[in-house]
Symmetry: C2
Subunit: 575 residues, 2 copies
């Protein structure tokens, strides 16, 4: 490709609207343009990148025996009403009506459609397992689209659905997809971790997320520094921390005016935060749940919901607290109204281990000291309800952990029979009985994967593409288009390198050397071949690897072989 | 691929809803399923076919220097309002609103979006020409979706847009696309003709359609039996027919009660239809246009509009006729009120050549005979306004023509500056002046192309795929899965043929031979390799070419080479 022909309108200035690197550089490198909030056009460079990711996905999916299909984006309301998700999705789902007034949505996902597609057609256990996938636009009416392709309203996803006869089969299908996705992200050159995840709105029991590690990620994850453990922080169950045993003292009320925070209390009571017990009151589907954790810990609402069930958790209102005799800022199980049987009290195991600690007295301006929950808390349930911290050990091996951030680029779910039961999709099993399919579903954010790669690989000058998904692999930079030797040499190199590759760009624009260097660094061609003054005087060209910055000077006649060798190395190393 | 794993739910009975062959066979062969009126899922076989067509398109488009992009399907109302098409499209456009109440459409086409995409970014004549294309779902809310993929509401299109500095450049871009499209349809194995076409709603001055010839097509086209001439019948300008000269007789009114049709008139007047002159009154944007053609000819409304301009042509109302003194059933330029200057009268040249003919007297129950328009019609405009017939000669070479039907699978348009002017998209020309882009647009119905191939190539048993777009190229049919020799032989052939091809299916299902033959013929694998009793007794297999029905029996050890040779031949011949 000749740069003079490539439609790639690079920008000189950083776009003001971009908050993250991928958004900034894709705009600046002329890869994407916004057409409306959350809706983007992919210009040639970005389209090439996406096609490369799609090709990797197809190859790895096909290897597993999964088969590609294409389902409609526009889907009838009925099947979503049948599954019960027409209303659950709420405003995140784009809805529309046709000329006859029939209702449809723009699919955010395809569980309903695929289940109705195979019901009555996949009939026998002999046909199973089946795994069907597609690569297609998906739609979510995000309340606040942002970060460019990271959170857009229209995006490309690969989604896959497996159908098995039983849980054992599902686990095999799940494992095959887990491994295929791992190979896909590895081939795309991403640094990622798989983490235990919440299955959220989609339902199901077991789920992993593929997280591209990046400071700009929206997800908090915890990873072990020693073993393979990694989880969404909300899915991590930290081990209880043991406190040194002490002689128990008698419980005692004391005045703590204006001490409604742990910081205030630590000051007032003269004890470290680890000696305090914090209360958080939640309203879960209208029911009060009082959560007790150590003062320096935070409540994990997802863990609380796993214990008590329910859908919507919000902070409890003043009215609800009053009903049960709880005093905001001074809450604890102690001194709460006798109604304690009527609401749920959860105490984290680490808080349960405290000796002679401090907690609220349910009386404005007063706390108790010398509180030992194992002695003093009654009618409570002990359950792991705190968020893991960087000070905790790995839940699996006890080694130090790291808290980091990730971009969710893929997720795998064991759905079980949620959709096959709701939509009455069954097969005849060996025993002649109709049974619901045991389903899994799997997804990769294709356009988000491209953005995540840029979040991981960039510097202050531009993108540092992994070669596997770079729009082009190499650029030839003749620094002066008026110099015949440079132009001729560059064209010859281009002809030779292009003979068996469509991955080469010749920057034949009549621009200054500085402009060419800037654009090459910005666009992030993995390899740059500089044809400059030394080509005239010494018969050499400079080959630069963009990511490492390593340069080498080679004679013109060996340049083609050397560039090919470098590209082979980059491809093999996954860089 | 093993047939036991292939998700391909074939049907035994013809689906009642299917009116055309492609719809019937795609349903029956388990290729597509309807999810809602006009919305289909593409199962693995159909998806493979579509991907093959897309690959051919990409290769041919890239050869021309066109660059692939991806624009949003969901587009903001504003750009359609700016071009004036938000309302013009009417109910054919799916519209929706987001959670904030902003209006969008599901794009039926992308002229508006691409024009706004490049405006302000394609700035100089030096950057031109540019041609950008995409392959993507398009949406049209058809009033009556039908014929399966032929007229669906969601379909895959390739659309391409060229930007040039002037008409000369546009013509070059247009020609390059015309040739690329020709190569694409040829490679897809379609029998097609390119015809001069009306540019319709999309605007612009010059257009060709690519018509796959098929009796089930919805378009009437005329082709020459000798030269390359082909046109949409509405675009064909038939040559005037000469009548033998006669001595002119004096015009004479005569009674013709209840003779408001040509058939009646021929009876009553005792003359052939070629001696009568028919009148058709049109209301074009509120103006009356009286069209005169020979009695055995039909008026071509598109041609009339080309002559007089205007947008909407409808039959003139009784009120409008009365206003100008025209009497329905007895209309002609003769005896019409003196207002004849105030309305347009068009006379087809062939009608103009009639001697001593018959036409209306604008008086209920009366006609004139011995009418010679060249003598008797005044204040009229002579213009070619009739539809061509099978009796006409080729407009180009005079040889006999054929009227036939076609499926529009592609169209190329010279748009000119319609959109660049409406959306203020300009570039700086050599002379330093801002000028609107001179644009072309080009489209291929990808999914319709697949359907059209089936319309052309099928028999009473199923599909006769062109090998280039067949979902798989060959199937191996072991006729008895309990026979060890057959199974072993079939598996060995499969292993060998699959070594360098993903195009082979092994029908390893424990089905009867009849079921396997039926499915193989229905699905239309171009080559069938039958492993049956002769394999055991004589060491041979039968190779059948599905389209021609030609069979050959070869020893097992030469079968692989022979199948590969046959496939090479089929690919080379474009069958």
């Amino acid at each position: 490709m000749l740069a003079s022909k490539l439609y790639c309108p690079t920008l000189r200035d950083d776009p003001a609207e971009a908050e993250v690197a991928s958004h900034k550089y894709m705009l600046k490198a002329g890869m994407i343009r916004k057409n409306a909030s959350g809706f983007y056009s992919f210009l040639p460079l970005a389209r090439r990148g996406v096609l490369k990711i799609e090709k990797i996905i197809r190859e790895e999916m096909d290897k597993t025996g999964a088969q590609e299909i294409m389902m409609p984006i526009v889907q009838p309301a009925e099947i979503w009403q049948e599954s019960g998700r027409w209303d659950v999705y709420g405003k995140e789902m784009f809805k529309l009506a046709d000329r006859h007034g029939n209702e449809y949505c723009l699919a955010p996902t395809h569980e309903e459609l695929i289940t109705t597609l195979v019901r009555n057609e996949l009939r026998s256990y002999k046909q199973l397992p089946v795994n069907l996938y597609q690569i297609q636009n998906k739609y979510r009416d995000e309340i606040r689209p942002r970060f460019g392709l990271m959170r857009s309203r229209e995006f490309v996803m690969q989604d896959s659905y497996s159908f098995d006869t039983d849980q054992e089969g599902l686990e095999k299908s799940y494992q095959a997809m887990y491994e295929a996705y791992s190979r896909i992200f590895t081939r795309c050159g991403l640094q990622y971790r798989t983490v235990l995840a919440d299955s959220g709105q989609i339902g199901g029991k077991h789920s992993h997320e593929f997280m591209a590690l990046a400071a700009s990620g929206e997800a908090d994850i915890v990873t072990c520094t020693q073993c393979a453990y990694a989880a969404d922080v909300e899915q991590a169950t930290p081990n209880p921390l043991q406190a040194a045993a002490e002689p128990l003292q008698a419980i005692e009320k004391f005045a703590t005016p204006h001490c409604s925070t742990i910081e205030d209390l630590v000051q007032a009571a003269g004890v470290p935060a680890e000696k305090t017990i914090k209360a958080v009151a939640l309203d879960i589907d209208g029911k009060l749940v009082l959560c007790m954790v150590r003062g320096d810990h935070e409540v994990n609402e997802v863990a609380v919901q796993h214990v008590v069930g329910g859908h919507d958790a919000t902070p409890a209102s003043a009215e609800l607290l009053q009903k049960y005799g709880l005093v905001p800022g001074y809450m604890s199980p102690l001194g709460a109204a006798k109604a304690s049987e009527q609401f749920h009290i959860l105490v984290d195991p680490t808080a349960m281990q405290i000796y002679n600690g401090v907690t609220g007295a349910n009386e404005e301006g007063f706390h108790y000291r010398h509180v030992t929950p194992s002695r003093d808390f009654t009618g409570v349930q002990v359950a792991a309800i705190r968020l893991i911290t960087a000070a905790d050990g790995c839940p699996e091996c006890g080694a130090p952990v790291q808290l980091t951030r990730g971009i969710e680029v893929g997720q795998v779910f064991q759905l079980g029979t949620k959709y096959s039961e709701a939509l009455q999709a069954s097969f005849l099993d060996k025993d002649g009985k109709a049974k619901p399919f045991v389903m899994g579903c799997y997804g990769i954010g294709v356009t988000r994967t491209m953005a995540a790669a840029i979040e991981q690989y960039h510097d202050e000058r531009g993108i540092l593409w992994p070669v596997a998904i770079a729009p082009y692999e190499a650029v030839i930079l003749p620094l002066n288009m008026k110099d015949e030797v440079m132009v001729t040499t560059a064209r010859e190199l281009y002809t030779q390198l292009s003979a068996d590759s469509s991955e080469i760009v010749l920057d034949d624009r009549p621009e200054r050397a500085g402009v060419k260097f800037n654009d090459a660094d910005l666009i992030g061609y993995p390899v740059q071949i500089v044809v400059g003054k030394d080509t005239k005087t010494k018969g050499t060209v400079e080959i630069k690897v963009r990511r490492t910055g390593v340069k080498e000077v080679v004679p013109v006649h060996t340049a083609v072989g050397r560039v090919q060798a470098i590209l082979r190395e980059l491809r093999a190393s996954g860089q």
